[in-house]
Symmetry: none
Subunit: 223 residues, 2 copies
């Protein structure tokens, strides 16, 4: 499942820019253009929130105070104000970071990743993103553009093996060994069958060619 980021800013230009940047990086983005809307959308429990401080009707700091009890995800303030007092107040309201505009997107991206990584570490979650596809190994879940695909045990185990080793070709016998265990007298047709159901499920979600056939050898994950 891709990370869901909530962006709250009253300037449409900024929102559009952030959305495009974040989506390009594989996040799922939702937006709010004022304080109350941000509070409302925070109820969907995003994985991270970017909060502008200057917003009409309710400023970012008030939003943060309002949601802090219910939302445990990292909250990053974005703002043009560079005063010490603003910073101290932002952190005191429950914020996790404070980024002064204009900021570089590279830095923003790195900070977002760092916060998500810490969150992940404290929750022991592991996932990998391949463009539209996200594979979450601890949830045993695959998501394609937000749509959740369900795989049964063997299918997921195969996806896990291949996707953790993207680009590497696996013989069918090798897949059998790794997924079924070394004792089994693996029959290639079993693997082929599983590959088929995996492909079918991905195809239904509009995602072809995640797994490529390498003639005479086996399969590899393209992602």
């Amino acid at each position: 499942m891709a990370y869901r980021v909530l962006v709250a800013d009253d300037e449409p230009k900024v929102v559009a820019m952030l959305r495009s940047f974040l989506e390009r990086r594989g996040y799922e983005v939702s937006c709010a253009c004022d304080g109350p809307e941000a509070v409302e959308k925070a109820k969907t429990l995003p994985d991270l929130i970017l909060l502008d401080i200057n917003m009409p009707r309710m400023d970012g700091i008030e939003v943060c105070r309002a949601i802090r009890d219910r939302v445990t995800c990292p909250i990053l303030f974005l703002t043009a104000r560079d005063g010490d007092e603003d910073k101290v107040e932002s952190f005191a309201s429950g914020g996790d970071d404070y980024i002064v505009k204009p900021f570089s997107l590279a830095e923003l991206g790195a900070r977002i990743e760092a916060h998500l990584r810490r969150d992940r570490r404290s929750r022991d979650i592991q996932r990998k993103v391949f463009g539209d596809i996200t594979v979450d190994y601890s949830a045993r879940e695959v998501t394609v553009r937000g749509e959740r695909l369900s795989f049964n045990r063997k299918d997921f185990d195969i996806i896990k093996l291949l996707s953790l080793n993207r680009g590497q070709v696996f013989h069918r016998a090798k897949i059998y060994d790794r997924v079924w265990g070394l004792d089994g007298d693996g029959d290639d047709s079993v693997i082929m069958e599983h590959i088929r159901t995996i492909r079918l499920t991905f195809a239904k979600a509009g995602c072809e060619n995640c797994i490529e056939t390498v003639w005479g050898i086996g399969y590899k994950w393209i992602g």
Copy 2:
């Protein structure tokens, strides 16, 4: 008990200033004046580390890489370098924050507090909200749209384990270990039975599918 902060910087003046500032705020401070010393002192497992990037023999980023696997506490870089690349590399090495010198002590204090707070928060969560469902861990209470559901001890322990790790799949044996204790020779059917009663109780309150079955593996909390 006071939080222990490790300060690593090769300039004695900076170290002295930070030490005095931090001690005035009630932290217990230890210092290192070069990279290897920082790595060594990190073994005492401080609660937070302030790391200068420019240090003799081994720079801050190398230090961070060296200790990241063993040390889970927040690592904050302090540096005079303000380039994007430095920042990105610092976060990539496992850092949690990047503060450019000269910084205000008020901001530094606020950032340190924020990082420690998050660490604390992830250790003792009081309650969590999942849409209609609220799980209160200190009161051992579950509420669905205001209606209070009652669960017996084991059932609640299972709910707690799963809901604190939303999305993560737990093997039945794992659930047994975590809820009953490691010694028990857990029988899967016990877990299945408890899951059933939990589901029944939630269903009566009009709340289906909080717990999802992952075939061949176990269960996970959807919320």
